[in-house]
Structure formats: structure tokens, C-alpha cells
């Protein structure tokens, strides 16, 4: 009983920070007198900011309704980019000493240009990583861009970013990722009963907190979880897939789980996609961070990258076979081009392997949860029926 209460307390603490990352960042800055850098998804190596002595905060979608941002970005952009621009227009990005990004999603770039326009004094730096992973010109280009990031951060933070500091930051982030992956592993094995909302809080808090502080808390959490007992639920096991750049709303996750579902795994960005890959050990830390960029896409392929050998669809279907999920819910942020473009490939593979799935499009403005619930229930019903017919066959 005490164990459960401890777990709830720890997760609750991380969830509160994930809910309001700005409050955490402002408090951190007051405490440390160091800079806060807003970084943008999905391939930014936070380690380099950490090594510069600043706090890298992965800027999250804000729950507030879009107001002033409407005059800067059209409504047919994904909720994340619209929210970013609205945060700029409503002064919420003022807490940052700079905004840095490496990704080139067309919607994201449009949003960041709007941020530059709206908050002209805020340093904004794009170190565009080439998205095509196949050509031999890409690796040196990415290496060069990380070097530029390092130089720009040195300028901004007023101190040199040494190789040793980057190596230490890499170790710190690897440690934290490993702890989070351990929780994921326990979830796949059915050894813990954290909800998807809680799992999201663990990853989202890692995106915005000081990494050492996060690791300390995670170490305690993992110890408690390891000491817990095995749960056998009888619920239908599902895998959540997709949802780039920002977190699906916790209410949506609650609704899904309320339909007799246990989410056993995911490849959403605010989930396994974020923690999947460690930075390898290399003598030159910039080379190591470059390698990480390539490794991540090998491990959990992403349709924002262009790589002939990477197949998200095979990854997804294989993951489902391994984690025992009986179906998949594909969460697409409305207007997310790279995801819309790839969805038919996922669908084709899931059909081919006989894995039932449901597509849900999410929107910043919220969702018709009751209507969606009917669709989730229909998916679950279908899965239960086919299990039954297999058993009676």
C-alpha cells in the first residue's frame, strides 16, 4: 500500500512539472541564475544545451485556446505549431533566453519564423539537419550543424562548451533515458500498472526538467516499481502510435483506457520515441551526437526523415508482435503532413499482418470524446470477438 502511495506521489510530482513547465523553468532560473533555452522537437540534441550550462526545455503545446496567434499562423497548421505561435503572441515565450531547433518540418519552420517576427528580441537559431539520411553528404552536414549549435550556445551563454562537458551531459541524458526505458520495459511485461497519462508525465517531465534532478526522482520511482507485484488485468492490450512533436491530451488517453484497455507500449514522441536511443560512446562528442541522430531513426523510424532502409510500418508491426498488443491506435495530429503522408503505409502493413487498428485525429481545440469513445469501443469489441472466435475455433 505504502509502495503504491509512494509511486503516486512521485509520479504526481513529475506530472505537476509536466503540466506547467514554465513555472519550473522560471524557478530553476531564479535558483541557478543560468539561462533557459527553448528547444523544439523532434531531433534536437538537448545534451549540447545542457553542456553549455543552460536548461534545455522542450517547448510543449500549451492548453490555452489560440487567440492572438491566429493573426500569425493559419488555422490549417497542426495544433503544436499554432500553439507555439500563440505562446509567442501572448508573451509566454519571454521566459526563454533563446529558441533553438534542428528540424525542418514545413509547419514548424513557418511557426518559428512567426515567432521571430512577433518576438524580435528573442534569439532564434535554426541548425537545419538534413532529413535525408541516405546520402554521404548528410553526415558531415549534421556534424557541422551541431558544431554551429555549440558555437552559438557559447556566444549566448558566454562560456566555452568543452568536450568534457558534452561527454558529461551525454552520460546524464543516457542515464535518464535508461531509467525511463526500464519503466517502459516493465509496462510491456505487465509488471506495473501506470496509466498512459502517468507514463506521459514521466517523459514530458524529462523533456523540461534538469536532467540530473529528473534522474534522481526516476531512480526512486524505478526502485518502487521494481518492488511492486505483477499485475494480470484481462484488459485488451493496445499500442499507441504516432503523435509527433507534442503530447496527446491526457483526457484522450484516459478515455481510451476507460474502454477496457491496457496500453502496453507506444511510439509517440512524448513516449518511447523520445527515449528510445542513447548517444553512443565516441571520443569526439559531436561525432557521437551526430551518430545519435542516425541511430534514432534506425531504432524507431520517423516519417519526418527520409531514409530508404527505415520502415516505420515494419517497426510498428514488429513492436506489436513483441509487446503482445492486440491492436493499435494511430494518433495523428490534425494537419501533420509527415504523418498523413505515411499513414497508408502503416495501414497497409497492419492489414497485412492482421493487426486491427483505429485512426484518431487530434486537434488543439479538443476532441469529441464521447464520439471517439464509440469508435474505440468498436475496436475493442472487434478484438474481443476475434479472440473469442479463435478460442472457440
Amino acid at each position: 500500500m505504502k509502495q503504491t502511495a509512494e509511486i503516486e506521489e512521485i509520479v504526481g510530482r513529475l506530472a505537476a512539472i509536466a503540466e506547467d513547465p514554465n513555472a519550473y523553468a522560471v524557478e530553476w532560473k531564479a535558483r541557478t541564475q543560468r539561462k533557459i533555452i527553448g528547444i523544439l522537437p523532434m531531433n534536437f540534441p538537448a545534451e549540447i544545451v545542457h553542456a553549455a550550462g543552460a536548461l534545455p526545455v522542450l517547448v510543449q503545446e500549451d492548453n490555452a485556446a489560440i487567440t492572438y496567434g491566429r493573426s500569425l499562423l493559419f488555422e490549417f497548421y497542426c495544433g503544436y505549431t499554432r500553439s507555439l505561435v500563440d505562446q509567442a503572441a501572448t508573451g509566454k515565450l519571454k521566459i526563454y533566453d533563446g529558441i533553438f531547433l534542428v528540424d525542418h518540418c514545413v509547419a514548424l519552420l513557418g511557426a518559428v519564423d512567426a515567432i521571430r517576427f512577433e518576438v524580435p528580441d528573442l534569439p532564434v537559431f535554426l541548425a537545419q539537419f538534413t532529413a535525408s539520411m541516405d546520402e554521404d553528404t548528410t553526415r558531415p552536414q549534421v556534424h557541422g550543424r551541431i558544431t554551429e549549435l555549440r558555437e552559438r550556445l557559447e556566444e549566448l551563454c558566454g562560456s566555452s562548451v568543452t568536450d568534457e562537458a558534452i561527454c558529461r551531459s551525454i552520460e546524464a541524458y543516457n542515464r535518464d533515458r535508461a531509467l525511463l526505458r526500464r519503466v517502459y520495459e516493465m509496462r510491456r511485461l505487465g509488471r506495473i500498472s501506470l496509466s498512459s497519462r502517468q507514463m506521459q508525465a514521466l517523459v514530458k517531465s524529462a523533456m523540461v526538467m534538469d536532467v540530473d534532478e529528473h534522474s534522481q526522482i526516476m531512480t526512486r520511482l524505478v526502485a518502487h516499481l521494481e518492488a511492486g507485484s505483477v499485475h494480470s488485468t484481462g484488459l485488451v492490450k493496445l499500442h499507441l502510435s504516432g503523435h509527433f512533436c507534442h503530447a496527446p491530451r491526457p483526457e484522450l488517453l484516459d478515455m481510451i483506457e476507460s474502454c477496457g484497455v491496457a496500453v502496453v507500449d507506444d511510439d509517440v514522441y512524448t513516449g518511447y520515441r523520445y527515449i528510445s536511443t542513447d548517444v553512443p560512446h565516441k571520443a569526439d562528442p559531436i561525432t557521437a551526437l551526430t551518430q545519435w541522430y542516425f541511430d534514432r531513426n534506425d531504432n524507431v523510424p520517423c516519417s519526418t526523415r527520409a531514409q530508404k532502409s527505415a520502415d516505420w510500418e515494419s517497426y510498428l508491426a514488429n513492436a506489436v508482435e513483441k509487446n503482445g498488443a492486440e491492436g493499435v491506435i494511430v494518433l495523428v495530429a490534425k494537419f501533420c503532413e509527415p504523418h498523413m503522408l505515411y499513414y497508408p503505409e502503416l495501414r497497409k502493413e497492419l492489414h497485412k499482418r492482421g493487426i486491427p487498428h483505429l485512426l484518431i485525429e487530434t486537434e488543439h481545440e479538443g476532441l469529441a470524446l464521447e464520439m471517439l469513445k464509440t469508435r474505440v469501443e468498436a475496436l475493442i469489441e472487434g478484438i474481443r470477438r476475434s479472440v473469442l472466435s479463435r478460442e472457440t475455433a
Partner: protein, 456 residues
């Protein structure tokens, strides 16, 4: 003299006979050249030619010199939309699983790929959507590819869509990608055609073009025809100079030709072979404009307003839009897509050593700029052409063309220009709201009148 008279449809808000618009005659031969090009391409396989499917920048001179035939996917999608034949391809892509908010260019072209594949009697997974066309339909006539090249600047979707084309053809075909940095401007010296980032990006892309040539040599088993490339770039440079001269002549008030005439000239400069015929085409266009100036013939005889058009083309509405503006005596004189694109800085091309200048033009894709660069280009054009207001086509499924537009409008307003937005799309007609365009256009023109009266 070449002027033709077309009766425009009467405007909803105007109780008078619609004005007459004089469209250029010389651009008609371009239509024939483009048709011949596609007809020839459709028989590529029977002729035993190797076919490259590519998207994005005009790398056709490189493909030509490599001895392969080139199929520009987007151009074909645009052609289908302009001919109102896009529906079968779009049905095919919908039944394959694409959501209709996805780039309609990509949806159309991938639909064509599905139909081409169906033609090859390969099984493609599609729902039983009514309207999947039979093989006679134009959309399925593209020759199947032997290899892919992606060279899409400015838009991540443009790059990702060929990843899908590659997958649709079972990941078996050779595939090369050219990547472009956005002309973003991190550094203070950055600007249009200047700054350290521009120089570095130019070199980076030029290097990739050399790698592309190596790839093509490998795939064709033939040495690259450098002399052939120099020759076609010589013609392209000459054609481009003539096109830019002709555009410049339209500074004249009233304008002898308008944006819609230039739209008709996009396909020739975008993907037809660089040769004497291309030069002749633009020479004729220029001559016709000069004749018009000498004879006092205007594109819109009743020109009262001079507008700029910003955004990507809306291929299935070009004629309709041309009439709509003509009805209101509004000459659309310049546009981002026509004036800041398609080999529009010919001085950058050195025909003896063309790769760097080519790389630079690819980077100068009108959707590969920061808003700051865009403002520099567009506001300069507004001044050059004596523009009263800017019409922004907010392209529903093209975030690349829509990026920065709301900011540009604010910058333009600060310069005293009027602005209006209308929602449409590059190749999906369902996103049009005709009444919105009509009422906003009228409101903008009225404001221009008020502004003029005040300053009179």
C-alpha cells in the same frame, strides 16, 4: 497584331457588362510544346528509354544530359488539375488512405503512381471507392519509373512524398535525394542572394548535384554529357533573360500582359528541354509584348487597379481567377510564383560552368525563403510594378506556400499596400469559397479607391 478578345463572366457584385481581357497569343504555342512533351513521354517505355520520376527543382537539364527522360510529378499533377482531370488520381489516393488535408499535389501525383502501378498489373491495396478509373484515363498514363530523384526545396512534404513513391514501387528502384537548407538567415549578413549562409548553402547544393551526376552515370552506365549540359544551360539562360525582359516590360501602365499570361509560361521554363525552341518561344512572347506597348494594347483595357498575387498556383481555377479579376478591372501584374521563380536570376548561370548557378536557382525556390527574404523580394516587386494591393492565396494543403503570408501582409500594410486573403488550394477544388474571394476582393478595391480619393 496578336491580341485576342475573351468575354469574361459578369461579376456578381457589378451590374455592368464585363470587361474584355486580352490574353497573349504567343503563349499558345507553349501549350502545344508542353502537350507534345507529355505525349512523347507517355511512349518512353515503348521507345526503350530510361525514365526518371522527380519532384521539386528543375533538374531536367541534368537528366537530359544524363540521357534519361524526365517526368516531373508535380507538373503532371498540376496539368491534371488545370485540365480538371485530377479527380481519378485523387480518388485513388483517398482509397489508399490519404486524408484530404494532405498536400493535394502529393495526393494527386501519388494517385497517378497508384494508377500507373495498377496499369503494370501490380496489386495495389485500395478500398472499393467508386470512381477508380479505368486504364484509359490520362492519370494512369505516366510511364513507370526506372529511378527516382527527389530535389524538393523549401518543403519537407515535397521531400517525404518521394519516400512514398519509392515505397509504392516496392523499394526496388534506385533513388537519389538532393537536400536544401532553407534560406533562413541566422546571421545578420543574411539576405536575398547575399551573406555567408547563402554562399555555404550554394556550395552544399552544388556538391550534391555533382553526386547526383555520379549517381546518374552509375545508373545509366554512360558518361555524363557535360557539353550537352552546357548547351542546354546556355539556351535556358537565354530563354530566361527574355522572360525576365518581358516581365519587366509589364511595369508599363496599363500592363501589356498580366500574371495569368505568365502562369501559362511556367511549364515551358520549368521542365521543357533547354534548346532553341525554348528561346524562340520566349522571344516571341517578348516581341508580342513590345508590339502591344507600341500599339497601346493593354492586357486589361480598363485597368484600374494593379495587384500582386502571392502563393502557389491554384491550377484548377486559373481561368476562373483570371476572369474574376478582369471583371473588376484589376490587373494582377506580378506574383511570387511567376516573378521570383524558374531561372529568374539568369546572371547567376555561367553556361561554361553551370552547376553552381543551377544549385543557386534550386535554392531560390519561392518557398525556400525566410519571411524576411520574402518581404525583401515581394515588397521590391510591389514598388517596381506600381502595385496597389496584394492578394494572398492561403493554400489550404500547402503549408510551404502559406508560411509567412500573414506576416508579409502586416509588412505590406505598413508600406501602405492593401491586402486580402482567400482560401483555396493547389490542386483540390473543394477548398474554394468563391463568395469569400468575391467579397474580399471588392472590399479591397473599394479601400484602394478611398485611399486614392483621400490622396487626390
Amino acid at each position: 497584331m496578336s491580341a485576342t478578345m475573351e468575354q469574361a463572366k459578369p461579376g456578381q457584385g457589378h451590374q455592368r457588362t464585363a470587361p474584355l481581357a486580352n490574353r497573349l497569343m504567343s503563349t499558345r504555342s507553349g501549350g502545344k510544346m508542353v502537350k507534345d512533351y507529355w505525349d512523347n513521354l507517355f511512349s518512353a517505355r515503348e521507345r526503350g528509354a530510361k525514365v526518371v520520376w522527380y519532384n521539386g527543382a528543375a533538374i531536367n537539364p541534368i537528366l537530359q544530359a544524363a540521357g534519361v527522360e524526365w517526368c516531373h510529378g508535380e507538373a503532371f499533377g498540376a496539368r491534371l488539375a488545370a485540365m480538371h482531370l485530377e479527380a481519378p488520381a485523387q480518388y485513388a489516393s483517398e482509397s489508399y488512405g490519404y486524408i484530404n488535408e494532405l498536400c493535394s499535389y502529393a495526393r494527386t501525383t501519388l494517385g497517378c503512381a497508384l494508377l500507373t502501378k495498377q496499369e503494370m498489373a501490380d496489386k495495389v491495396e485500395m478500398d472499393n471507392t467508386p470512381g477508380i478509373p479505368s486504364k484509359e484515363v490520362l492519370a494512369s498514363r505516366l510511364p513507370a519509373p526506372d529511378l527516382f530523384v527527389n530535389a524538393y526545396a523549401g518543403c519537407s512534404t515535397g521531400q517525404q512524398w518521394d519516400e512514398i513513391s519509392y515505397r509504392m514501387f516496392n523499394k526496388e528502384l534506385p533513388f537519389f535525394k538532393v537536400s536544401y537548407p532553407l534560406l533562413w538567415g541566422n546571421k545578420p549578413d543574411a539576405g536575398y542572394l547575399r551573406g555567408e549562409e547563402w554562399e555555404a548553402a550554394s556550395r552544399y547544393v552544388a556538391n550534391q548535384l555533382h553526386k547526383l551526376i555520379e549517381f546518374l552515370e552509375h545508373e545509366t552506365g554512360r558518361p555524363f554529357d557535360w557539353e550537352g549540359l552546357r548547351e542546354s544551360m546556355y539556351y535556358i539562360k537565354r530563354a530566361s533573360e527574355l522572360r525576365m525582359d518581358a516581365l519587366n516590360l509589364c511595369k508599363s501602365k496599363p500592363a501589356p500582359a498580366v500574371f495569368w499570361d505568365w502562369v501559362a509560361s511556367i511549364a515551358p521554363i520549368n521542365f521543357l528541354p533547354g534548346n532553341q525552341a525554348l528561346v524562340d518561344y520566349f522571344a516571341e512572347v517578348k516581341t508580342e509584348i513590345k508590339e502591344r506597348l507600341a500599339a497601346g494594347v493593354a492586357a486589361l483595357p480598363g485597368e484600374r487597379y494593379r495587384l500582386a498575387f502571392d502563393g502557389i498556383m491554384n491550377w484548377n481555377r486559373v481561368g476562373w481567377l483570371a476572369n474574376k479579376f478582369a471583371e473588376h478591372d484589376a490587373a494582377v501584374v506580378c506574383g511570387r510564383y511567376t516573378h521570383n521563380s524558374f531561372w529568374h536570376e539568369p546572371q547567376l548561370i555561367d553556361p561554361d560552368d553551370p552547376i553552381l548557378g543551377m544549385a543557386q536557382h534550386y535554392l531560390l525556390c519561392p518557398f525556400n525563403h525566410s519571411t524576411k527574404n520574402l518581404a525583401e523580394m515581394i515588397l521590391r516587386d510591389c514598388e517596381t510594378y506600381g502595385i496597389d494591393g496584394i492578394v494572398f492565396h492561403a493554400t489550404r494543403t500547402c503549408r510551404s506556400a502559406s508560411n509567412g503570408q500573414l506576416l508579409l501582409a502586416q509588412m505590406a500594410q505598413k508600406k501602405g499596400l492593401q491586402t486580402m486573403f482567400f482560401e483555396g488550394d493547389v490542386a483540390d477544388e473543394s477548398f474554394y469559397k468563391d463568395e469569400v474571394l468575391q467579397s474580399r476582393l471588392e472590399a479591397m478595391l473599394e479601400t484602394i479607391d478611398v485611399q486614392r480619393n483621400r490622396s487626390a
